[in-house]
């Protein structure tokens, strides 16, 4: 392993390794991925932590995200400003949560935030409708969507308040057989 990289200090790299599920090499690779999105904006020296933010348009155009119906939500959830504009920290954060190594609970928490379109800490019917329409590209009729929403509420809403809280969501999602295998992005 070469120690030639000059982008981060070794403390920075160690800190990033502590804060993410990535190895040193992966962090550097992610940095380069980040930089490749806008080479003119991102400096090659992150030792004094420059304030660089890439706009959502660039983040959303990554091949890993561009076909994802929830890409905007993902970017919004993980960005600090909530608008999808990401710093390198946000970027690392996002892929750390979506990496293979991240535990189920952490993933479930962020999945909840992603599906919570109106940021009210509950998944209500409108959130569900949006999710469904994004998933099926509006191929389902209104009746069908409504029915699915009702079914979902029926199944997962344990306290019957007509919306899914984080607990309800986690309760449901930790049992899902393929949540872990699908809710991750390899990078």
């Amino acid at each position: 392993m070469g120690n030639k990289q000059t982008i981060f200090t070794s403390q920075q790299l160690d800190a990033y390794q502590d804060c993410t599920y990535f190895t040193r090499k992966e962090i550097l690779r992610l940095f380069h991925r980040y930089r490749d999105l806008a080479p003119q904006l991102v400096p090659l020296d992150y030792k004094n932590q420059p304030e660089v933010r890439l706009p959502y348009e660039l983040i959303g155009s990554m091949p890993e995200l561009k076909d994802n119906p929830f890409r905007q939500r993902i970017a919004e959830v993980f960005s600090e400003d909530g608008e999808g504009n990401m710093t390198l920290d946000d970027f690392l954060d996002m892929f750390s949560v979506l990496s293979e190594m991240a535990p189920r609970d952490l993933k479930a928490y962020y999945a909840f935030k992603i599906y919570d379109f109106n940021n009210d800490d509950f998944i209500c019917k409108s959130d569900l409708e949006k999710t469904l329409n994004k998933l099926t590209r509006n191929e389902l009729t209104e009746d069908e969507v409504r029915m699915v929403c009702e079914k979902v509420m029926d199944e997962a809403d344990l306290d019957n308040d007509g919306r899914l809280s984080l607990e309800d969501f986690q309760h449901m999602i930790v049992r899902a057989p393929d949540f872990l295998s699908t809710f991750h992005i390899r990078i």
Binding site: D14, N68, D93, P103, D105, E155, N160, F183
Partner: protein, 974 residues
């Protein structure tokens, strides 16, 4: 805002922190810190003196006992005076730390009361005494623990001189105190949540004066807490910035206090331990980095994953896993069998078994013969027959036969271990996937595969999700009406009948071909062409190629749901492969019997030949030197073991070839034709009939599994098999990666990879079992050939163990072993094992049942809670109405204030709850705990309100605070 969040998320145990206490903690922190680094402090004094001398600004006010309290002011002044100096980059980190500390102190000074200052002065006095007392100890400790801080000190001294722009400084001041104090308070509140403020004050004094055991314990706890935080910080759902800050805080905290722990002589040891721990952690991390760097084909698989989704990628991951296993098997056989024999065993041509016989010599180097693994290849380390039965070879006295036997057993044992371990791990990860009560929710929230990064696959995925929803809706609306159940049944029976016919036919074909090939072999293969010689393998490969297609056609009759159809398909292919393999083995057994009969004849001839040899030349004179016959001329037995090994090697080779050729023809040529003939064809080839091929995950996985089964079966008789397999897997990794990327299209029906992983593993286990059976059978029941292989001359192959026990171990060991292996001991042991298995199984069943019951209980409880809450809310609303009516006459201003407080505390409570719940499973007890702990939290943040009641009903509401019932019920309902 961030502060609330942090506090809330850190602990739901109890947080009794208000502003004043915050400051106390930070004070405590600052002072303990200085205490713990006496040496550093001294250096700071020295620095201070130097600076004073230089500036000529000596103030009496800053006498030495007061320096801790006034340090901050002093430094701040210095900073304002000397901001013309340039900053140094290396000092940046330390500067920040320093600034934060200064800011802390300033804040403390501003807000702490005068009594506290007095206490502090006292403390500093005691501190000084303590300092001088422990000077030596600390110096030593400094050397060990504080390497980093030693390094930091020079930077710090410089830093004191060099300054930033005041504006930036101010900004930091505003920002940093918050974060430090909050993290401080958080850690303190974790470890000392029970003690009240007085106790804390006392404790602070205690820490400064002398570290009593209790304080040490507490400090240790805090440090452990921090350490835990450091290791788990990556699992916290915080933004990166916060994580970084907290991480740094915690690391500093740990660094500072770790040295203070341990006492007297133990301290040095403790420091050393800490140091080693750090080194060890670093080593572990490096190792981890190295390990992930060693995982091959990561990028390739990632690319495939993004193009084809997780199911296709799962095949390649499986392939890679297989490659890893084979690597180990190869290492075992190569390192412990092949290399020792090649290096230390007798060289080629030294004895009959290591020489090509005279009649084969002419053709032994021909390519066709070598390709068949005859000739020189047959008489080499690649096969069983080459090995000598000499007990120990070379200067190492390497026990060759023993090693051969143990490696054979070891490969199988290792494979079992790995497969079962992987299965168990997969089962753990999958969790309870059997619950079907969340059908729609799962469809909604987990059906999108986040790995997909290819528009075409995404389109397919969208379509499949939509259809799955529609299907589910239809199923939900009405239990599917079977239009003609009799027809479907008839068709299904017919399909199964056809499949059975196919299986029987293929089995008979293989049997027939094997028998025929034996006939050919008896008559001598030279008279026949290539096809006759390779008939068996070719027929098996062709059957393996075409029968699955036939099954696919037949399965369209059945009209099953695609997932069920896939399972049937897999089951049938499995049966086919298994049938073929076992027919092959049975035929092989026949061949072995034939060879053994031949061997008997050769043995008899051999004695005659020997007798002739001696009689012809020297009439029995024992003193005369034995006649040297060239080993190539010595007659020899057929050596059935080598024959078996050869058969398996040929099978593997032909299997590999067919796989590659089908890949080239079926995928590549087809894709090329479709692509380039499309322009001049009468229909659309790309979307019409031939189209591009899809990647057949299940077929490929099955092929891989059976291939592995053959390796396990044959590896004992042909040590070269793992090596060959490794080569094959390596090539097919690249070839298939290329083929899948260049000529396959994403599947139309995108199946999820879930669950199938363990399904494949289960099949692998079955195959492993089935393939070790025949191998074990041959080893146990047939005597080895008399003139070839490491076990020649023994009655059975496993006699080598007994031989080793008798000769290489002391006598008592053999005795013990023989006692241990007597049936009187073995049988009870087996019985015990069975009992243990039975017991474990029944307990696991019980656990499952209990789990289910708990789940039910939870559900009912939730519903009850909901009802209760609704009632409570209703009641509260009524009371609220009354209270409002009553309160309207009273003062308006007071209620305004109350509302404001209410909303802020509500906000906090919400944050706390939200953050406290994440990052762990919802366990009934936990969630209850969180609920019950909530009211006190929200109440203690505001000092003006009385504590809220813990009960769910809103009975504790006071008329003077009209908002309370509402708030209470709100938080409960969440």
């Amino acid at each position: 805002m961030p502060r609330h969040k942090l506090i809330a998320s850190e602990s739901d145990v109890s947080i009794e922190v208000d502003e004043g206490k915050d400051n106390e903690f930070s004070l405590y922190y600052v002072e303990v810190e200085e205490n713990s680094k006496g040496g550093k402090e001294k250096q700071a004094t020295r620095d201070g003196k130097r600076r004073r001398a230089r500036n000529g600004e000596v103030s009496r006010r800053r006498a030495s006992e007061k320096r801790t309290t006034n340090m901050a002011n002093k430094r701040a002044e210095k900073k304002h005076e000397k901001h013309h100096k340039t900053t140094r980059k290396e000092g940046e980190r330390h500067r920040k730390r320093q600034r934060r500390r200064i800011a802390d102190e300033e804040e403390a000074e501003e807000e702490s009361s005068k009594e506290k200052k007095n206490i502090k002065n006292e403390r500093t006095k005691t501190l000084k005494l303590e300092d001088e007392k422990e000077k030596d100890v600390k110096k030593k400790r400094k050397k060990h623990v504080k390497n980093q801080e030693d390094d930091a000190n020079p930077g710090k001294t410089k830093q004191k001189d060099c300054q930033d722009v005041p504006l930036k400084e101010k900004k930091k001041k505003r920002k940093k105190p918050e974060t430090t104090s909050e993290s401080e308070s958080q850690s303190e509140s974790q470890s000392e949540s029970n003690s009240d403020s007085e106790a804390k004050d006392n404790q602070a004094v205690g820490v400064l004066g002398s570290l009593t055991p209790e304080e040490l314990e507490k400090l240790k706890e805090a440090v452990d807490e921090r350490k835990k935080l450091i290791t788990t910080i990556k699992g916290k759902p915080w933004p990166m910035k916060k994580k970084l800050v907290i991480l740094r805080e915690s690391q500093e905290f740990v660094e500072k206090y770790e040295g203070a722990l341990g006492k007297g002589k133990g301290r040095k040891l403790y420091a050393y331990k800490v140091l080693m721990m750090k080194k060890w952690m670093k080593f572990e991390r490096d190792l981890e980095n190295f390990k992930t760097a060693c995982i091959p084909w990561e990028m390739k698989i990632k690319e495939i994953e993004s193009h084809f989704g997780s199911s296709v990628a799962s095949y390649f991951i499986f392939l890679r896993w297989m490659y890893g296993i084979n690597m180990i098997l190869f290492g075992l056989t190569f390192g412990l069998v092949m290399v020792p024999e090649a290096l230390m065993g007798k060289p080629y041509g030294s004895m009959p078994r290591k020489t090509v016989p005279r009649e084969e010599e002419a053709s032994a180097m021909n390519f066709a013969v070598l390709w068949d693994f005859g000739g020189y290849a047959k008489y080499s380390v690649l096969f069983y027959g080459y090995y000598n039965n000499q007990r120990a070879i070379g200067w190492l006295k390497f026990r060759m036969p023993l090693s051969y036997f143990l490696v054979g057993v070891g490969t199988v044992a290792y494979s079992y271990m790995v497969v079962i371990r992987t299965m168990a791990r997969n089962a753990n990860e999958e969790g309870g996937g059997d619950d079907t009560s969340f059908n729609f929710s799962w469809k909604t929230f987990t059906s999108w595969d986040y790995l997909i990064g290819n528009p075409e696959t995404a389109d397919n995925k969208f379509a499949s999700i939509t259809t799955s929803f529609k299907e589910a809706i239809v199923e939900e609306q009405e239990s599917r009406k079977d239009d003609n159940i009799h027809l479907t049944r008839f068709l299904r029976v017919l399909a199964n009948f056809l499949v059975l016919c196919c299986l029987a036919g293929s089995g008979y074909l293989i049997y027939f071909v094997v028998r025929r090939s034996q006939k050919f072999a008896l008559e001598g293969l030279e008279n026949y062409g290539w096809w006759e010689r390779n008939e068996v393998n070719m027929v098996m490969s062709l059957l393996g190629m075409f029968c699955p297609m036939l099954f696919d056609v037949i399965s369209t009759l059945e009209n099953y749901h695609p997932r069920i159809a896939l399972q049937w398909q897999l089951g049938r292919i499995f049966a086919l492969f298994l049938g073929n393999l076992y027919t092959f083995i049975i035929a092989l057994m026949d061949a072995i019997q034939l060879k053994r009969a031949e061997e008997e004849i050769v043995k008899k001839n051999m004695t005659i030949w020997q007798a002739n040899l001696y009689n012809g030349t020297v009439p029995d004179n024992s003193t005369a030197p034995p006649i040297t016959v060239h080993p190539a001329d010595v007659p020899r037995g057929p050596c059935w073991e080598t024959m078996v090994g050869q058969e398996f090697v040929r099978l593997i080779i032909s299997d590999t070839m067919t796989t590659y050729i089908t890949l080239l023809i079926g995928d590549f040529i087809r894709a090329v034709l479709v692509r380039f003939l499309n322009n001049c064809w009468c229909w659309d080839l790309e979307y019409g009939f031939p189209s591009y091929s899809e990647f057949d995950v299940s077929g490929n996985v099955l092929g891989l599994i059976f291939n592995q089964g053959m390796i396990w079966m044959g590896a004992f008789y042909a040590p070269c098999l793992p090596a060959l397999n490794l080569l094959r897997l390596h090539v097919s990794m690249y070839l298939q990666c290329w083929a899948v990327m260049c000529c396959n299209v994403p599947q139309e029906r995108v199946f999820k990879a879930s669950g199938s992983n363990n399904f494949y593993m289960a099949m692998l286990l079955v195959i492993l079992f089935l393939s070790t059976l025949p191998a074990i059978y041959t080893i146990v029941s047939f005597p080895p050939s008399f003139d070839c292989g490491p076990f020649s001359g023994k009655n059975r192959m496993f006699d080598v163990i007994q031989e080793t026990l008798e000769t290489d171990f002391p006598a008592w060991f053999g005795k013990v072993f023989s006692y241990a292996s007597n049936p009187g001991l073995v049988l009870p042991f087996l019985l015990l094992l069975v009992l243990a298995i039975y017991y474990l199984q029944s307990t696991s069943k019980t656990y499952k049942r209990v789990n289910m019951e708990l789940k039910k209980k939870l559900q009912t409880q939730n519903e009850e809670n909901k009802k209760k809450n609704k009632l409570a809310a209703l009641k509260a609303a009524n009371e609220l109405e009354q209270a409002r009516k009553a309160g309207e006459q009273r003062s308006n201003s007071a209620s305004d204030l109350g509302v404001n407080e209410e909303s802020s505390s509500l906000d906090e409570a919400g944050h706390h709850r939200q953050a406290g719940q994440n990052g762990r499973l919802i366990h009934p007890s936990q969630s209850q705990h969180a609920q019950s702990s909530e009211p006190p939290v929200s109440s203690t943040h505001t000092t003006t309100r009385p504590p809220a009641s813990r009960s769910h009903t809103a009975s504790g509401h006071l008329p003077g605070h009209p908002q309370q019932p509402q708030k209470n019920s709100h938080s409960n309902r969440r």
